[in-house]
Amino acid sequence: MTILLLTLILILAVASLTMKKSVSAIISFAIMMLLLGIYYISLHEKMLGLFQIFVYTGGIVVLMLFGVTIIGKEFPKAKNRAWASLFAFISFVALSWLFISTVSSLDIVNSNHIEINNLFAQKYSFVVILFALIGISLMYATISMAKVLRNRGKKES
């Protein structure tokens, strides 16, 4: 069942990148994200799965639909870059080889999932400053872009 789910996810991923019509591509992307959420729920990560469904199938897809208002019904035609598929295939093979060569040293637990409270605070409190810096830089980028747009509007008028 899991393999079928994962195969469907891969098929939808390829479809969302190859479809000519933008709305169809977004729909296949949304279904892919929904299936990924179901996959996480099947791994006993209910919260992560629900987050995936709410954030991706809800929020991100709406953002992408906003992009359709700029692009239009169909994606613009462009030449394919042949080296890209080779590059992706090599990266897939390299990752798989690295993983398979190290998997024998890993201890497979397969135990019941244990939820530890305050795990984030225990393990990742040191990255909060980094995240604050990222947030500030993103805010700065947004304000700068708004400033550029305002100046441009003034010039045009």
Binding site: Q52, V55, A84, S91, V109, V127
Partner: protein
């Protein structure tokens, strides 16, 4: 063991598809799709290893990546919309920094 390897291989395949999408496409919407796929492949790897290897600390990392992906999509669409409004073009290859920053 074998199901763990298979699930991880599927995650690598999704990452590969995302990488192909980022490097081959020329319109921003597909590049965003591909970026989200790559980030989701990483979340998938974290969730799979958390389940099979008992690494519960992977899950907070997965949430963090999800937050970053959302921010990236929001800011990316905003920047693209702004650049499109200024230059009137839809392919990132055609954007000129001079045109945008004038």
């Amino acid at each position: 063991m074998s199901i763990f390897i298979t699930q991880m291989l599927f995650a690598f395949a999704l990452f590969g598809i995302g990488l192909y999408g980022v490097s081959s496409n020329r319109d921003f919407l597909r590049i965003f799709f591909a970026l989200e796929m790559m980030l989701n492949a990483v979340i998938m790897m974290l969730a799979t290893t958390a389940y099979h290897l008992g690494l519960s600390e992977n899950i907070p990392l997965a949430y963090m990546i999800m937050v970053l992906a959302t921010l990236e999509a929001g800011i990316g669409v905003l920047i693209f919309a702004s650049a499109n409004k200024i230059s009137g073009k839809i392919s990132p290859d055609e954007f000129s920094s001079k045109e945008v920053l004038q």
